[in-house]
């Protein structure tokens, strides 16, 4: 598709990213478990997350620690104390008629995420990071405009969310996507976030073109959606400006089916959320939690990249890719325990990653179907020339699609490479048994060599390496 990919300084983009801390065990203000994705609606609820009168929120300390972890990993400044506020508005997914969020005392200020653009490294600076609760989920039978009623599932109500707000420093939809990708990688490294779950990350995008009003596109639920919504919106605003019209400040909705944005409300209709401090909660002093968290911060992508290069002697091209997914990097390290790391890196990055991608899977799947020890064994066979490159790829495919034992697959499919002595013996045999072809070759008919190679291939049922065989034959014939 024709996305605007190059940087345009006149386009100004800022994002508000809502991230579910969905790897935690319980909700933000009650002890309802978060593993509701496979369960019936309204089964992970209690008086607190249903907003029953008289129920009171209690802050989940683990959620605050996870949030602090994220703030530290994003180089943000965790505030010495932080306050929860009520954001008041009416909506059926909001059981209390307000959302507990943060306003003028957010958890953290500042911070940045480094992305790699075509122009080189760039720091996307952050404005703030705050905590809030997820509302319930609305389901419309049919479309939002024609449905007779909507159904509400409060399983999601109270899921811990982080809102990460960037400064308006991005200049293309692609930068926005790169930022989101990098953010996701960091969050997964911290083991607080699983991006594969539905609704795990939702984005509000602010975009303006110099000279025009700022437009907010609300609640985009996929990375692709963000890129498309922004591209559409930039084109729309440019057209307006070209026609000499004004871009009004407004809030728009992204229609994922038609890939367009539609107006939701103008600036005059903006909601007044009437923020005020949540009187049922007390301010959180972060010093102690901060100390606790500091010790538990895992290695982050940049650090890991440097370490992989130093420890295993692999090239930056491999290290860079490996750290894109913490599970992939872990997988590599386990393979590298048993086999030459450089070989492991190239096979993991160039082959296994591709095979997984092709199947729409990630390295979690590889852990299940082709364990690192098995993969290492396979690569060892390859290094010992007991299996060809083609054979390795075939085993990978069979393992990923059907599973099974590596040795058994190689045996039953006849994938073990023929030892060199055996090839040489067969080459001699081919020469002895085909004097005509030998004579033709010596007479200048170079094509006759193919006939001899074919003989060896047939005898080995295709397991010999044709180029290698030809080499051996040539040498014998020319002696």
């Amino acid at each position: 598709m024709g996305y605007a990919t190059s940087m345009e300084p006149d386009v100004i983009i800022g994002l508000e990213v809502h991230v579910q801390l969905n790897k935690l065990k319980t909700k933000l203000f009650c002890s309802c478990p978060l593993d509701y994705h496979e369960d019936e609606p309204n089964t992970h609820v209690c008086p607190v997350c249903l907003g029953l009168p008289g129920a009171m929120p209690v802050v989940n300390k683990e959620a605050v620690k996870a949030a602090i972890k994220v703030a530290l990993a994003l180089h943000a400044e965790v505030q010495p104390f932080t306050v929860f506020d009520r954001k008041n508005y009416f909506y059926p997914d909001l059981p209390k008629g307000f959302q507990i969020s943060q306003y003028d005392r957010p958890l953290a200020l500042g911070g940045y995420v480094t992305i790699e653009t075509e122009e080189g490294e760039k720091k996307i600076t952050l404005k703030r990071i705050h905590m809030e609760e997820d509302p319930g989920k609305l389901t419309y039978k049919g479309s939002i405009t024609t449905a007779k009623y909507c159904l509400i599932d409060y399983n999601r109500s109270g899921v811990p969310l982080l809102e990460i707000v960037t400064e308006p420093v991005m200049h293309s939809p692609k930068e926005a996507r790169l930022f989101l990708n990098k953010l996701r990688i960091i969050l997964e490294y911290l083991d607080v976030f699983d991006g594969s779950l539905e609704g795990a990350m939702r984005v509000d995008a602010n975009v303006s073109i110099r000279g025009g009003g700022r437009v907010e596109i609300k609640n985009i639920s996929s990375f692709k959606g963000v890129e498309r919504a922004l591209s559409y919106e930039i084109a729309r605003q440019k057209n307006l400006l070209r026609m000499g019209r004004k871009v009004e400040r407004e809030t728009r909705h992204f229609d994922e089916v038609n890939n367009i944005t539609v107006s939701l409300r103008s600036k005059e209709e903006e909601q007044d959320y009437r923020y005020f401090p949540e009187p049922d909660l007390v301010p959180i002093y972060t010093a102690e939690l901060l100390e606790e968290v500091k010790g538990t911060l895992p290695e982050m992508p940049e650090e890991k990249r440097e370490r992989l290069k130093a420890q295993y002697g692999i090239g930056d091209n491999f290290a860079k890719v490996l750290v894109l997914d913490k599970v992939m990097a872990d997988y590599f390290e386990e393979v590298a325990k048993h086999v030459d790391p450089k070989l492991a890196a190239s096979w993991v990055v160039d082959v296994l990653r591709g095979e997984l991608n092709y199947r729409g899977k990630d390295f979690r799947f590889a852990y299940e179907m082709l364990k690192p020890e098995e993969f290492a064994k396979l690569l060892r066979y390859f290094r010992e020339e007991r299996i060809t490159e083609k054979g390795v790829v075939e085993v990978i495919r069979i393992k990923l699609d059907h599973g099974g034992d590596v040795d058994e697959i190689i045996r039953s499919r006849g994938l073990f490479a023929i030892p060199k002595e055996e090839i040489e013996r067969l080459c001699r045999e081919a020469i002895e048994k085909n004097p005509k072809a030998v004579a033709d070759y010596k007479g200048g008919k170079k094509k006759a060599l193919d006939f001899l190679v074919g003989y060896v291939m047939k005898a080995t049922r295709g397991r010999a390496n044709p180029a290698e065989t030809a080499q051996i034959l040539k040498k014998m014939l020319e002696e």
């Binding site: 029953l52 009168p53 008289g54 009171m56 008041n88 009416f90 009623y149 007044d272 009437r274 005020f276």
Partner: protein, 465 residues
């Protein structure tokens, strides 16, 4: 009025079952309208258990009435509102758990102002509560039912809630004892909120000792309320020459001041050290209180949209039309007034002018109390500035709000205050409030006990019944 001691004496000669049955007969014949829902079946079952020696605890076999904004599992909890007229909570408030653990018999849910918004219990969807000393007069509010049921001998103990005087006002009007505990002493878990940062559940009883006993049961640690201080309470009376401050700014009409000054001069001065204290912030307290309370209320009451529980409409409509209609029909006038004023006070452009200013005033009020209580052990003042009003007398909301002038500063500061009866004027009870330092309920009760004893002599000497 029935004290715990008297009730226990009766239990020696009569079965608990009979006593509780008699109590229900009396309630059912009563004109006070103190109860919204009776808990007759369970109460009689528990009475039977007590008779069989199965019910144990500090309050075993003793009837307790619970204000209808305190959640009781399986027992309708209405907040005296049409909005919640059929709402049955699936959980017990912390204080109700404590009552059950100590063997108390919950006899029913008491009438109140709708969502505790009022000073007279006239805003109840279930009708006004009448004063046990004069049926044409109000019992006070918002815990009017809890005050009236004690004054009318329909219960021995009662729970109320106090956001700006809602325990002390009906205690004063009904001639009983009621405490607004230190903010954070009693868990609010299960209390349906009106203004979270101001209110506490508190004990009401017929004498100081009983009030302290009920506080012992309901006070204490509860992790479910993040504002809970995690402290327990145990009453250990102390006897010393307390230094008592009389708050200059807290006054009342001639009826009230006559009685109050008489008690100060005849009882307090001869027995204790008395000084006059001034609270310069007093004039800011009432407006600050109403701004904060209404702001919080506007948000607390947003959850009542007729979707999950409570008043609902048969006919579906668009979301905005549906919840608007539910709220228009489900809330009473006073509740709507406070929601609208609170919404206004929190709106962009007015927040700084009203809400933030109110918070600053609150800090000043708190400082004034801290300063006064550094010098004095307790402070005293009339609880209410007037005698119980005739039903319908306070038609104008502003006049009604002004009646809270002596009680609201205490909630702003968070300090504890007890209202005790100090006698009668024109056949109507007058109450005095005793204010203490944070978590020094023990001092308040000790001092109150002295006043109570002295007044008993006084009453006997003067031959007043």
């Amino acid at each position: 009025m029935i004290t715990v001691k008297e009730w226990k004496e009766r239990l020696e000669s009569e079965s608990c079952y009979d006593l509780i049955s008699e109590l229900f007969d009396r309630i059912e014949r009563s004109k006070l309208n103190a109860f919204i829902t009776l808990n007759k079946d369970e109460a009689l079952r528990l009475a039977e258990e007590f008779d069989r020696g199965k019910l144990k605890g500090k309050l075993a076999g003793i009837p307790v009435a619970v204000k209808d904004n305190i959640s009781t599992k399986g027992l309708r909890t209405t907040c005296a509102s049409k909005m919640l007229h059929d709402y049955v909570p699936p959980f017990d408030a912390h204080v109700v758990e404590r009552l059950r653990q100590e063997g108390a018999i919950i006899i029913g849910k008491t009438n109140m102002d709708e969502f505790a918004m009022g000073t007279t219990t006239e805003t109840s969807f279930f009708g006004v509560v009448r004063n046990p000393f004069d049926l044409e007069r109000v019992a006070g509010g918002s815990s009017g039912g809890s005050g009236a049921c004690l004054g009318g001998e329909e219960s021995v103990l009662a729970l109320g809630s106090d956001t700006g005087g809602s325990i002390r006002c009906p205690a004063s009007f009904c001639g009983v004892v009621g405490l607004k505990p230190t903010y954070g002493l009693v868990s609010r878990y299960g209390l349906i909120p009106y203004a979270n940062s101001l209110e506490q559940i508190g004990p009401m009883a017929c004498c100081v000792e009983d009030c302290a006993l009920l506080l012992e049961v309901i006070a204490g640690r509860d992790w479910r309320d993040s504002t809970n201080a995690g402290r327990e309470f145990e009453f250990r009376p102390v006897d010393r020459k307390f230094r008592v401050g009389v708050i200059r700014e807290m006054g009342g009409n001639d009826d009230v001041m006559g009685k109050f000054e008489e008690v100060v001069n005849d009882i307090v001065r001869p027995n204790f050290e008395v000084v006059e204290v001034s609270m310069p912030s007093f004039m800011f307290a009432l407006p600050a209180y109403y701004i904060i309370a209404m702001s919080e209320a506007s948000s607390n009451l947003a959850r009542y949209d007729g979707v999950r529980y409570g008043y609902a409409l048969e006919k579906l409509d668009t979301w905005t039309r549906y919840f608007s209609k539910v709220r228009a029909e489900g809330f009473g006038e006073e509740v709507k007034r406070r929601i609208m004023l609170g919404t206004y006070a929190l709106s962009a452009g007015y927040y700084g002018k009203y809400y933030l200013k109110a918070l600053k005033a609150r800090t000043l009020v708190k400082r004034d109390f801290e300063r006064a209580l550094k010098d004095c052990d307790v402070l005293i003042a009339p609880t209410m500035p007037a005698l119980p009003f005739r039903i319908g007398e306070l038609a104008d909301p502003l006049t009604m709000y002004k009646m809270d002038v002596n009680t609201v500063p205490i909630n702003l500061a968070g300090v504890p205050a007890l209202s005790i009866p100090i006698g009668f004027v024109k056949g109507l009870p007058v109450g005095m409030q005793i204010i203490g330092r944070f978590f020094e309920e023990n001092t308040i009760f000790s001092f109150a006990l002295k006043i109570e004893e002295a007044l008993r002599d006084e009453v006997q000497r003067k031959g007043v019944a």
